[in-house]
């Protein structure tokens, strides 16, 4: 592509920006190496790795604290994040969460993949996909809170720092998914 082929006189076309052809994804090993370097830098500089489910939890507790602060004060689990004058958003996970949203969007913009669509298997309707995605989200985050971390906080971070418990969690995530995969194959294939 040459620069001169760009229409210069045309005003900024928002629609065209979201309809560019999507560029291919990075090679998995390359993506993995970059992700690994990011994870290493996080560990090296801050001692904390990566994570996100904790932030989801904190955002929920923040909302609860706005509407039902008394309930939060009576629930020990929530109290750990938001008791008294504690701000549940005062945690490293929260900026990581919003950073990840912005980072994902930026990558999507650069490679032409920002597009309102639904990614799903060929045999199910959009509506079914939305419903199961919603249900999957409920289950995943419920499990993530129980295991004290998700694929990022436990499998990726705990895996890299060689935490014994995190390796168990990682095996169980893959075990659970593989165990059920056959029975829900119509969702994806």
């Amino acid at each position: 592509m040459t620069v001169s082929s760009k229409p210069v006189s045309k005003p900024f076309d928002l629609k065209a920006l979201f309809n560019r052809p999507a560029k291919p994804y990075a090679h998995p090993y390359l993506g993995g190496v970059i992700l690994g370097v990011v994870l290493f830098l996080a560990l090296f500089l801050t001692g904390n790795g990566l994570g996100s489910s904790g932030a989801t939890s904190r955002l929920v507790v923040f909302a609860q604290d706005q509407f039902v602060p008394d309930h939060v004060d009576r629930t020990p689990y929530l109290l750990r994040m938001a008791g008294g004058d504690k701000n549940p958003l005062d945690d490293w996970l929260v900026p990581v969460f919003f950073g990840a949203l912005l980072g994902g969007f930026t990558s999507g913009m650069i490679f032409g993949r920002v597009k309102l669509e639904t990614t799903k298997g060929p045999r199910i309707s959009d509506r079914t996909r939305w419903m199961i995605a919603f249900l999957g989200g409920i289950l995943f985050l419920y499990g993530a809170r129980m295991a004290r971390g998700c694929t990022s906080g436990q499998a990726l971070t705990g895996g890299a720092v060689l935490s014994a418990g995190s390796w168990v969690v990682m095996l169980c995530i893959f075990g659970g998914a593989y165990g059920l995969a056959y029975f829900v194959r119509k969702l994806w294939n």
Binding site: Y25, Y29, V33, I34, L35, G36, V38, A42, L43, F44, L45, T46, G49, L50, S52, S53, T56, S57, T75, W92, V94, P95, V96, L101, G103, G104, F111, R113, E117, T119, A133, L135, G136, G137, I138, L139, F140, Y142, G143, A144, R148, C150, T151, G153, Q154, A155, L156, G158, L162, S163, G165, S166, V169, M170, C172, I173, G176, A177, A181, W188
Partner: protein
């Protein structure tokens, strides 16, 4: 400079730029995930039907890359592993939670962070997963009280690493994980070729060089090894808040960083018997009295509640101390005099056990202060260094009056306080928990 940087360890409104640091880390995280195709649920789900094993490849490449770099930095003495967050092991809630996550993964097609990458690029299913996630987190918060005991205690082992589990040196474990990952990559490429009908001849040759690099790095970790106790001690520092007189005559508190040896020489870590006595009644501290003398001396006389770990066995017990150490845990080491306790203090401090102190003058000093009225204990003139300077009628252990002095009688005892909690990291401060 010691990594990780203390200033970055906790986000707080007090230093707003920590938000920026973590925001940038998150940005890079989201960017990489989207770039690798994790915004697309079909690509993620394909992992579980063996047609495309991108999830496994990206994830394990990331794990081994971060691992060899992290432990490489540790072995070069750049990074303090005891300050890196290692997810504590809660075995049973980890297993059940992991299985539930697996179910959510195959049904929903995302994991929490990939759903962020998906939602932010306009995928409606990603947004639905994210919304479901808020509901799931809400439900957990509201139902945790039904099983709070199980959740907090079942299979709790604290900070346990694979090295502890297998009893192998760090370098060997690192190398084994690398080899296991490489074997899995080889296996996934076979599966992609057979089940996914992918033409593997078009895969870049560069990945073979990558294998070489990562194996070399792992071997380097094996051969350099982890830093010795002496090397770690050289780098150990102790923070103290001290009052300082300002030019305008006001006194403000400033934080001063001392090297471990400076702290010893300036007697910042030696607590008087009186302070130890008072600390035993301080509800804000989890106090552990570590009696590092021989078992024989311990049986003759010790402080009530003191734990006997002879100095030569102390090193093997350190992982245990580190695994379950709370931020307000305080350890006071004691010998008959100060020499043995000081050696033990150096060891514990080097290995990253926080808040370790020495009983000033040891047990001999304790008895001089609290036991001089006890007719049963008689001074002995023949004692050498690091021996008990008293004679006891029998090995009564902690059944002497001065093993547990009367709190009412000694209520107004005076001392210069030395104990300051070094709040390195809140128990919930790291990780995703």
């Amino acid at each position: 400079m010691n990594f990780p940087l203390l200033a970055f360890q906790n986000v707080s409104a007090a230093n707003p730029w920590t938000y920026l640091v973590f925001g940038l880390i998150g940005f890079a995280f989201g960017f990489t995930l989207e770039m690798s195709g994790f915004g697309n649920s079909r690509k993620l789900a394909a992992q579980f039907y063996f047609t495309e094993l991108t999830v496994l490849k990206v994830m394990f490449t990331a794990v081994i890359t971060a691992m060899v770099l992290t432990f490489g930095a540790v072995s070069l003495g750049l990074l303090d592993y005891s300050q890196v967050w290692v997810n504590p092991t809660y075995l049973w809630s980890g297993i059940l939670g992991g299985l539930i996550m697996g179910v959510g993964f195959i049904i929903g097609g995302f994991c929490p962070t990939t759903s962020l990458a998906s939602a932010s690029t306009g995928k409606i299913d990603g947004m639905m997963f994210m919304l479901g996630g808020f509901v799931g987190a809400f439900l957990f918060g509201e139902t945790e009280h039904f099983f709070t005991d199980w959740y907090n205690t079942a299979g709790y082992f604290g900070r346990v690493t694979l090295m502890d589990v297998f009893g192998l040196p760090t370098g060997i474990v690192v190398l084994m994980v690398v080899l296991m990952a490489l074997f899995m990559f080889w296996g996934s490429e076979q599966l992609e070729r057979i089940i996914g009908k992918k033409d593997m001849s078009r895969e870049p040759k560069l990945r073979l060089y990558g294998v070489g690099v990562v194996v070399l790095l792992a071997l380097a970790v094996v051969f350099i090894g982890m830093p010795s106790t002496e090397q770690k001690y050289e780098k150990a520092t102790i923070l103290r808040t001290v009052p300082e007189l300002q030019a305008d005559g006001k006194v403000t508190e400033i934080q001063v960083k001392y090297s471990a040896e400076e702290a010893l020489n300036q007697r910042l870590v030696q607590v008087t018997p009186a302070e130890l006595f008072k600390a035993r009644y301080d509800q804000g501290l989890i106090l552990t009295l570590l009696d590092v003398r021989s078992e024989a001396d311990y049986n003759l006389f010790h402080l009530r509640g003191a734990l006997n770990i002879p100095a030569e066995k102390l090193k093997s017990r350190i992982p245990e101390l580190l695994a379950t150490s709370a931020p307000n845990a305080v350890y006071i080491v004691m010998g008959n005099d100060e020499g043995l306790a000081t050696q033990s203090w150096r060891l514990l401090t080097a290995e990253g056990v926080p808040n370790v102190y020495i009983l000033e003058g040891g047990i001999n000093n304790w008895i001089t202060v609290f036991g001089h009225t006890d007719p049963e204990i008689q001074p002995s003139s023949a004692a050498l260094d690091e021996q008990l300077k008293f004679l006891f009628p029998a090995a009564l252990g902690d059944r002497y009056e001065c093993s547990d002095p009367d709190p009412i009688e000694n209520e107004h005892i005076e001392f210069t306080p030395k104990i300051q909690l070094q709040m390195k990291r809140d128990k919930s401060g790291g990780g995703c928990g």
